[in-house]
């Protein structure tokens, strides 16, 4: 008579992530990207305001004008 065989337990794992909205920018996700089209502020991955607030071309134009 055949008997039921217990197989190894199956286990499914899924990532469970949540983030908090503290009103601060997500620096990691914004690294290298503009967060505001008007101000052109860019943050690097060290959460520091990037030194280049404007594209190099625009800086040259401002220098010429002055």
């Amino acid at each position: 008579m055949a008997t039921d065989q217990k197989l190894p337990a199956g286990c499914i794992g899924h990532k469970s992530e949540f983030l908090l909205d503290n009103g601060l920018p997500d620096y990691e996700a914004l690294a290298g990207k503009f967060i505001d089209g008007d101000s052109g502020l860019v943050f690097n991955s060290n959460k520091e305001l990037n030194a280049f607030l404007f594209p190099p071309e625009e800086k040259k134009e401002e220098q010429v004008k002055s």
Binding site: D4, Q5, K6, L7, A9, G10, C11, I12, G13, H14, K15, S16, E17, F18, L19, L20, D21, N22, D26, A29
Partner: protein
């Protein structure tokens, strides 16, 4: 051949069922496989509750799926008090949770602390009972779970939800 088991999730007022989820991220909207970055939780509020089920899509020649266990591996975030609440429990199981349009407020019966290690026994039922069995294509009871935060919370976290079952060939 082993049974085919996935985790299904239900969302929306009309209960849209996704047969197999790719993540169980918790956030500020009712959506399956959501992006935590896109839907962060405001401190002092809850995430939208998740309604999920073990989904036996194919018995694969096996006769029984039972002894369902769920738990989380990994800590919650920092800065304040976070909690991960659920209806899953090894004792005094409250019977099958009824699906309702997911909300980001407290849900009756979803008030147990999610285990952080494998429970000694089943903590999610089948047919309203921890000793229930799935013997053909079908679902377990709903697993309801949700994140709660307080005003002092400053960071979230990334952890792993484990969904385990026994299979008898």
């Amino acid at each position: 051949m082993a049974a085919t088991v996935t985790i299904a999730e239900s969302n929306g007022a009309g209960e849209t069922v996704t047969a197999s989820i790719t993540n169980t991220n918790m956030g500020s909207t009712d959506a399956v496989n959501l992006s935590a970055t896109t839907y962060p939780i405001t401190p002092n509020s809850r995430s939208y509750i998740k309604y999920q089920r073990f989904n036996v899509q194919n018995m694969g020649g096996s006769s029984i799926i039972d002894n369902l266990k769920v738990w989380r591996t990994g800590s919650l975030g920092t800065g304040g008090t976070h909690a991960h609440v659920t209806n899953a429990r090894e004792t005094s199981y409250g019977g099958a949770l009824t699906y309702a349009t997911p909300v980001n407020t407290a849900v009756t019966g979803v008030d147990q602390a999610m285990p952080t290690s494998e429970p000694s026994g089943a903590n999610l039922g089948i047919g309203g009972s921890l000793s229930g069995q799935i013997t053909s294509v079908g679902y377990s009871d709903y697993l309801g779970h949700q994140i709660t935060t307080d005003a002092s919370a400053t960071a979230g976290s990334s952890s792993t939800m484990n969904y385990q079952y026994d299979e008898t060939a």
